[in-house]
């Protein structure tokens, strides 16, 4: 059942205020939106990362649901354990408080998902746990001081892919994790952004309704790591989608479907890049070729998605 903003806003906000996220953080907004849809019968797992650190500094927690923290590399395994225990107790009739349905959601950043956590995520998806894994993808290791990750786009400056005289930021394109998750043949995979709240809410709902594992990849502009005015995080989400950098689609039982059809005369990548300090060096003389390469890559990747969605 789709909800409008009015009914959604009446749901309980399960992430309390007063947590330590930065001003203008789009990540805490992602968490709140997901929890508004998921509701209180949810167990949340958090891999080490920004969202875990800012919401659960001992002895405090911003979570009004059960929350379990894991190491950097194994949140999917930890939630697998919780979900398995729940099923075992349910099967033996030993659940202390029987519920009709419990949601199990694991959160990880791109470092903890694309890189060090990929093994445990892949295992959980293959085993078929009834869980949702959400990657909040801010395209680098922000919590430890902005190091490059498998999700960092080509050309971006980070602490470990610095732009200087020898190199000009990250030398590789980002990994397509969403497609890797589709290859696990799980019932539901999608990507979205917190700006597209209706799209996000619909996808969370579908992900929690399917029988089996689901995966959501959510773009999370980071004011500190990307270097932008804290006021424009949501605007950058919107532009990333309009420029075809982050297409909105879902894959239900292997079938791709575009959930937002961009305009024919889509904006180029340049205006989006220009608003972020991490791409500043790309606009220096001599780096024109890198801008061309970014546009070429975005167009090429987008065309592949369009084909998969039967739109091309």
């Amino acid at each position: 059942m789709a909800m409008n903003l009015q009914t959604l806003s009446k749901n309980e906000d399960l992430l309390a205020g007063g947590h330590r996220a930065c001003a203008g953080c789009t990540g805490s907004n992602i968490l709140r939106q997901i929890m508004l849809t998921a509701g209180p019968d949810t167990v949340v797992g958090g891999a080490t990362g920004c969202m875990e650190v800012v919401t659960t500094i001992f002895p405090y927690t911003a979570w009004k649901t059960p929350f379990i923290h894991s190491a950097f590399e194994n949140c999917a395994a930890t939630i697998s354990g919780v979900e398995t225990a729940y099923r075992a107790l349910k099967a033996s009739g030993e659940l202390p408080v029987p519920r009709e349905k419990m949601n199990f959601i694991a959160f990880g950043g791109d470092g903890g998902t694309y890189d060090i956590g990929l093994q445990s995520l892949s295992g959980a998806m293959e085993r078929g746990h009834n869980m949702l894994y959400v990657c909040y993808d801010n395209e680098a290791y922000m919590n430890t001081g902005i190091q490059r990750s498998g999700a960092t786009p080509f050309g971006a400056h980070t602490s470990t892919s610095p732009a200087g005289t020898v190199k000009q930021g990250k030398e590789q394109h980002r990994k397509d994790l969403t497609k890797i998750m589709v290859a696990h043949n799980i019932p539901y995979v999608a990507q979205t952004t917190p700006f597209h709240w209706r799209d996000l809410q619909m996808k969370v709902q579908k992900a929690l309704e399917v029988d089996g594992p689901a995966f959501l990849n959510i773009l999370m502009p980071c004011t500190v790591g990307w270097g932008f005015d804290p006021a424009i995080g949501m605007e950058l989400c919107k532009q990333a989608v309009e420029a075809n950098f982050w297409p909105l689609f879902e894959v239900v039982d292997g079938e791709y479907k575009l959930t937002y059809k961009p305009k024919e005369d889509r904006p180029l990548m340049e205006p989006w890049l220009k608003q972020q300090v991490r791409f500043k060096h790309l606009f220096k003389p001599g780096n024109e070729g890198m801008l061309v390469e970014i546009q070429r890559w975005v167009d090429s990747e987008f065309n592949k998605i369009m084909k998969l969605c039967g739109e091309a």
């Binding site: 080490t48 923290h69 190491a71 950097f72 590399e73 470092g111 890189d115 060090i116 990929l118 290791y141 919590n143 430890t144 001081g145 190091q147 490059r148 498998g150 602490s159 470990t160 892919s161 610095p162 200087g164 005289t165 020898v166 190199k167």
Partner: protein, 353 residues
């Protein structure tokens, strides 16, 4: 030589470059990330390699691969990341490869926090991973030593074909101090007898740690053991301060030794005979000098940022001949000078053990 003002973590990279290390493999973790940042900045510019791995496990195994070619290589991390590297380090020790691994220790167990601790002492000095092996372990207490001991760690790693470790703490990593930058040196070792370097001379070499026959594996372990005994005989390093007439000898390393130094003159001025033994190598451990002092009427106090780990090695060295006390703080707390002076008084007055 030039004198520069820098963070302890940066001094490690300076030492590594001057020692001829040109291959760095890292993974982000606070409070060690600056080492990777500095390596990313400087290694490629000097014709070297910096790679950020997808995990700590990948980083240590990249080190394994590069070390196998006979090239000076390193990685650095902090406690949870160091835990993840253990399997790789066991393989590196088993295959007898030289490398340097830095652990800028933070508070544990589990996620703990990002503040300084010394509670990885057991893990670092007793092997850490599986099997019979040890890491040559240095405990720098200032930015200068972060640099100099990195150079020495590379040399000893090459000399004995074994992994060496710098066990620093969040303070020595983050603190800025002046550092005399040592001159760059040629790597004085020829690795053709064992490395697999893609050359005709090394084409028959084999790097492995698998010995399926029990006698073969026992022989390999005995060979490693003989090497560790040789290291123990030759490479113990420590500093001694006013111990000869001391009634109470403090044993402390790393950042804690700096605090202890500052208390000793103050205690002496008040007529209290206190001394300090500062292990610079945590393995091999300076048991000899502690044992020597234990011959006379003296007490020992191990001060650590843990709930009591090195104190076990002090007790082993003393072997029941003198009282051994312990004072520790953890979680990112460090003892103040006054706190330590009060502890010395309690012990000297026969209060606490």
């Amino acid at each position: 030589m030039s004198r520069q003002f820098m963070k302890g973590n940066d001094a490690i990279v300076v030492g590594a470059l001057q020692a001829g290390c040109r291959a760095y493999y890292g993974y982000p973790i606070t409070p060690a990330s600056e080492i990777a940042h500095a390596a990313a900045m400087h290694f490629p510019a000097l014709g070297g390699t910096f790679i950020q791995a997808e995990s700590e496990i990948a980083a240590i195994n990249m080190v394994y691969g590069t070390a196998g070619m006979g090239i000076r290589t390193m990685t650095a991390s902090s406690s949870p990341g160091f835990s993840l590297k253990q399997e790789g380090m066991s393989y590196i020790a088993g295959a007898e490869l030289p490398c340097v691994v830095v652990n800028v220790v933070r508070g544990g167990p589990g996620l703990g926090n990002i503040a300084p601790e010394q509670a990885d002492y057991f893990q670092v000095t007793k092997g850490g991973g599986h099997g019979n092996y040890r890491l040559i372990t240095f405990a720098p207490n200032c930015a200068q030593e972060m640099c100099d001991l990195t150079v020495l760690a590379f040399d000893l790693a090459d000399k004995y074909r074994t992994p060496a470790c710098l066990m620093a703490d969040g303070f020595t990593g983050q603190m800025m101090e002046p550092v005399e930058v040592p001159l760059a040196k040629e790597v004085p070792y020829d690795h053709t007898s064992w490395a697999v370097a893609g050359t005709p001379e090394t084409s028959k070499n084999l790097i492995s740690s698998i010995y399926l026959e029990s006698n073969d594996l026992e022989r390999h372990n005995l060979k490693l053991d003989a090497k560790y005994k040789e290291i123990t005989a030759n490479e113990v390093r420590y500093e001694e301060y006013l111990c000869d007439d001391a009634e109470l000898i403090i044993v402390a390393f790393g950042i804690v030794s700096r605090i202890v130094y500052s208390t000793i003159d103050e205690a002496r001025a008040a007529g209290k005979k206190i001394g300090l033994i500062r292990p610079i190598t945590l393995w091999p451990y300076p048991s000899g000098i502690i044992s020597q002092h234990a011959e006379r009427d003296v007490q020992f106090l191990s001060v650590e940022l843990s709930t009591g780990q090195m104190v076990e090695d002090v007790r082993l060295a003393v072997n029941g001949r003198a009282p051994v006390h312990f004072y520790g703080r953890c979680g990112g707390n460090v003892p103040s000078g006054d706190e330590l002076l009060a502890e010395y008084d309690r012990i000297l007055e026969g209060g606490r053990s």
